[in-house]
Symmetry: C2
Subunit: 172 residues, 2 copies
Amino acid sequence: MSGASVAAPREQAVEAALDRAASACAARGAQLTALRRQVLRLVLDAPHPVGAYALLDQLRAERPGAAPPTVYRALDFLQEQGLVHRVERLNAFVGCTGPEAHHHCGHGHDHPHQFLICASCGATAEICDDRVAAAVRDAARAAGFVPTRTTVEVEGRCAACVAAGQGGPSPA
Amino acid sequence: MSGASVAAPREQAVEAALDRAASACAARGAQLTALRRQVLRLVLDAPHPVGAYALLDQLRAERPGAAPPTVYRALDFLQEQGLVHRVERLNAFVGCTGPEAHHHCGHGHDHPHQFLICASCGATAEICDDRVAAAVRDAARAAGFVPTRTTVEVEGRCAACVAAGQGGPSPA
DNA sequence: GCGATATGCGATATAGAATAACGTCACCCC
DNA sequence: GGGGTGACGTTATTCTATATCGCATATCGC
């Protein structure tokens, strides 16, 4: 580690992501306002999925008048823009670290994605597996169902926790 | 339809399911008490996923002292027994109509399942697709992740609504 | 019979998640 | 300068879920 006094790598990455987000929004005619940017920053800063009220508490440090609708409206916007995802199992939100952010697999900003949620450490990884997406689509179609949005969330133990715990559970 | 005055087919089916559930619990050393059976009946009676507080309201008709923990504890038990599932997207519960109930595809009472949720009419179908389950498992493993439970929920339009609406949205 | 432990449930309180409804202000376009 | 739109403030309420304490009963070993 080389001196954290100026700007930690993570902070730089978040700033870069915020700038990319602003560009992406602008390109679609949407505005990443100061408030929305602030909320997005809070989500991206969090190491794990964050609840809306945790965001609200943090937001209030800078914006005393903030209320639930403040944060929910911002989150709705950010979800529409594909900048954050909601983790249904946790009633919480994560920054999108998938294709939208890094252009890994060529999907739009409403891309299919899946979450791997570690029950032990709380880490939540976003993956983008085409076989999963295809299998789900086919299964739905086979039932005469026309899918619009799909939620895939896997709970289990992440590689790090498996390595550390050698199988036993140690939920934080 | 032949006379609903004695016992509608649906009621009979629910009663049969309740008896099957009681047997299954007994076989595992768990007790399907009167309260739990009552809650399970309410879930099975509902045509669509039901919220915990809707169940609570109904439950109070027969059991005035019922409070949130009453219904949540019953639901936790029923979920452990694989008799009901939670639909994360809806914060609601459905009776298990999958392999556990009908022995369709040879899984235990912690079987993989997927939901197809119609945004138009609210109908929620449970399916049990092995390709989906396998794809999800493989994707998780590829990330070094050891899965324990998986949620797959597809939102869209069911066959009936697609046929009726010819494509346009008419969310009830 | 008697205490020990476990389970199921009643009852109260509180925390957490989400939305409804209404008002204001800025901006833009004509 | 009137009208529309979008973003946000503000207040209130609803819905979802859990924590905690306490009581009754059942079951077991002795």
